[in-house]
């Protein structure tokens, strides 16, 4: 298993030497989706608290990073870390009140948070450019960003593995199965949920800042779309929520499928995505990996 993972990583590390510009950017996007789907999985897959607004962390990271690069002249790797920090701050602000409650309040608050952020970004024009968007100086850093995004995907996945195999992870899953029972067993559910949310905000924040630097131009409509949240949820569900490698599998498989289908059948794509959601929920609620775990004797912690 370890050898398998290492050889995949080695192949990916060598890829920019032989790949085309498009290939490098596409694999970089797969890394980004692994980080996003894996992060969503930390809060929603493990504790069962579904976030419908995880793109808010992505967008906050994108704007924080872009503003620091454009106005303060920070180098982009530092700005990426700051993007992650901004997302964590935002997670505290929203998680502290909302996760004290049980039930659907968190899901609804996250949905609203995204809309509020988009409105705020449009309003504070002096800082964010408002509806004009924010344009960064041209910089060709595709390959360095590829590696940093790759490291981010690895870190998020490794973090998932550490959590799933730890007592902390077991407690989170207890909350998912029965929150009242978890409390009765003495688990401080609020602080566990909050910790999971903070950990799940870092990845999207860093990814957003990296994306902003790579793309060179961001605007409110394109960094806060609901579509990004939906895509990361579908990827995590498809691969297997609550698992370590489910989001990795889902992100890679669906991104490659999308890229092939998009190019040829643009009008079929939204339909197909909807069908995948319905199909996964009805036929394999635990995703591809969950199905494999049921059929074959695979470890629980993959």
């Amino acid at each position: 298993m370890a050898a398998a993972i290492l050889s995949v990583l080695a192949a990916l590390a060598a890829y920019p030497v032989v790949g085309t510009g498009y290939g490098v950017r596409s694999v970089q996007q797969i890394f980004m989706w692994i980080a996003l789907a894996g992060s969503w999985n930390l809060i929603s897959g493990l504790t069962g608290y579904v976030s419908f607004g995880h793109v808010a962390f992505f967008g906050a990271g994108a704007y924080a990073g872009a503003i620091l690069v454009a106005s303060a002249g920070w180098p982009w790797p530092l700005a990426a870390l700051a993007g992650g920090a901004a997302a964590v701050v935002l997670a505290v602000v929203i998680g502290y009140p909302c996760l004290r409650l049980k039930g659907p309040y968190f899901a609804i608050a996250m949905l609203g948070l995204n809309e509020v952020l988009r409105a705020l970004v449009s309003y504070f024009e002096g800082l964010t450019g408002g509806g004009n968007g924010l344009s960064l100086p041209t910089l060709d850093a595709s390959v360095p960003i590829y590696y940093v995004m790759g490291v981010l995907a690895v870190v998020v996945t490794a973090m998932s593995w550490l959590i799933v195999t730890s007592r902390f992870g077991l407690r989170l899953m207890t909350i998912r199965e029965d929150e009242v029972a978890a409390e009765a067993m003495g688990i401080d559910t609020f602080h566990h949920k909050l910790a999971a949310l903070l950990l799940s905000a870092v990845g999207p924040g860093v990814a957003g800042a990296l994306m902003a630097r790579d793309q060179g131009y961001i605007e409110p409509i394109s960094v806060f779309p609901l579509a990004i949240t939906v895509t990361m949820i579908v990827m995590a569900l498809f691969g297997g929520k609550g698992t370590v490698f489910g989001p990795v599998l889902g992100a890679a498989a669906l991104f490659v499928a999308q890229e092939i289908v998009w190019a040829r059948y643009p009008y079929v794509h939204p339909l197909l995505f909807g069908a995948i959601i319905v199909g996964v929920v009805l036929l394999m609620p635990r995703g591809v990996l969950g199905l494999l775990q049921q059929r074959y004797r695979l470890p629980r912690t993959i």
Binding site: S7, V8, T20, Q215
Partner: protein, 392 residues
């Protein structure tokens, strides 16, 4: 799993994603573009696509370009800048297209141009109207349509000539509309008019009563609104309800669509609008092009269709004069080129910024759009002043 299988898997994945296709030497000239075929801008992106298709057909009908056929390679960017960036990278590094044409909309162009500049590819961008895109020292991007700043020029100019003194400017808070509004404010000040009120409203706004109450208190001679379609309709309706009666009232995008009159009926009378192109304008071949477009696609073209078509012809002409597809040679020609198409004039300054194309201002008169500005392109006279709502 053994350690060999995953390695093979990784290699296969890498190949699937990044397979290199050899470019053939003497096949057709392949022109790549990503367009908004789905998503927010789907309708407009589709018209632009049809403009490209008609240009392809015409160039091939005349024996092709540099002795070769041309062929468009088009992908769907879902109206998303991020997708467009990836697709242009794909067109350039994998499909190895011979030339590039621009996508739809300013935001998408602003993102995609980072890729085309990186690979030093000429991009004629027929549907990007935001000045700032062209004023950042980029070398290979060329503008075709008039910039957003001049959309309301006709309205302000006509008002100034008629001795009107005060103007209120409102706009939707997005890239294009903001630029159109700031252009109107600048121009009004230059013409000695007083800007008595400005306000931006968020995208998707439907309630304009607070804004209109403030305008009514300021009582301007002219209301200039930088709009899209939905807000133009809502604003007009609520002006009637609140009985706001300026002597002139004009909108930007949306006012030129037939749906604008269909929705508002006689309330659209006397309203001014701005457009990049009309099929009635006296450019050579314009009417014939309009007919052949209708025959080909079974619906009327919009200015997006005409701009796409014209932008593609501009590129083809420059390549012909350069007798090459080499980016620097074509660029040199594009900078020198002066050309008139069915879309109007093309000429750019040293930044690739459009300086020759003219916006026209029309007024709805008896269910028809009558071109009233500028004088050399206009068909009729503006009905002035606009009567009160009760008198229409």
């Amino acid at each position: 799993m053994t350690s060999k299988a995953p390695t093979a898997l990784a290699v296969a994945l890498a190949l699937a994603v990044g397979g290199v296709m050899p470019a053939t030497a003497q096949g057709p000239i392949r022109i790549g573009a990503s367009l908004s075929l789905t998503g927010t801008y789907a309708k407009l992106g589709k018209n632009q696509h049809e403009g490209y298709q008609l240009c392809e057909k015409e160039v091939n009908g005349k024996g092709g370009l540099l002795g070769r056929k041309v062929q468009f390679v088009v992908y769907d960017d879902q109206s998303m800048p991020a997708t467009a960036v990836r697709l242009y990278e794909k067109l350039i590094t994998e499909d190895m297209v011979d030339a590039i044409m621009g996508p739809y909309s300013s935001p998408v162009t602003e993102a995609a141009v980072n890729v085309t500049e990186k690979y030093k590819k000429v991009m004629v961008a027929p549907l990007a109207a935001t000045t700032s895109i062209f004023k950042k020292g980029r070398k290979y991007i060329f503008m075709v349509i008039s910039p957003a700043e001049v959309y309301l020029e006709g309205l302000v100019d006509m008002a100034a000539k008629r001795g009107l003194k005060t103007v209120a400017v409102v706009n939707e808070d997005t890239l294009f509309s903001k630029a159109a509004a700031s252009g109107a404010v600048e121009l009004a000040k230059k013409k000695g008019m007083q800007v008595v009120f400005t306000e931006a409203y968020p995208k998707g706004n439907t309630d304009f009563s607070a804004l209109l109450t403030k305008i009514k208190a300021a009582n301007p001679d002219v209301i200039a609104a930088a709009t899209y379609f939905d807000d133009a309709v809502a604003l007009t309706r609520q002006m009637k309800e609140l009985n706001v009666n300026p002597k002139m009232y004009g909108v930007t995008v949306g006012g030129d669509l037939p749906e604008f009159y269909d929705t508002l009926k006689q309330n659209a009378e006397y309203i001014y609008g701005a457009t990049q192109w009309e099929h009635t304008l006296p450019y050579a071949g314009n009417q014939e092009w309009f007919e052949s477009y209708k025959k080909e696609f079974a619906h009327d073209p919009s200015y997006h269709s005409a701009a796409g078509y014209a932008g593609c012809l501009v590129y083809a002409e420059a390549a012909k004069r350069a007798n090459s597809l080499d980016a620097d040679k074509v660029r040199e020609q594009l900078l020198k080129l002066e050309m008139r198409t069915i879309f109007g004039d093309y000429k750019v300054d040293a930044d690739g910024f459009q300086v020759a194309h003219k916006m026209v201002t029309f007024q709805w008169q008896k269910e028809k759009k009558v071109t009233v500005w500028p004088d050399d392109l206009s068909k009729g006279k503006p009905l002035f002043p606009t009567p009160a709502w009760t008198g229409r």
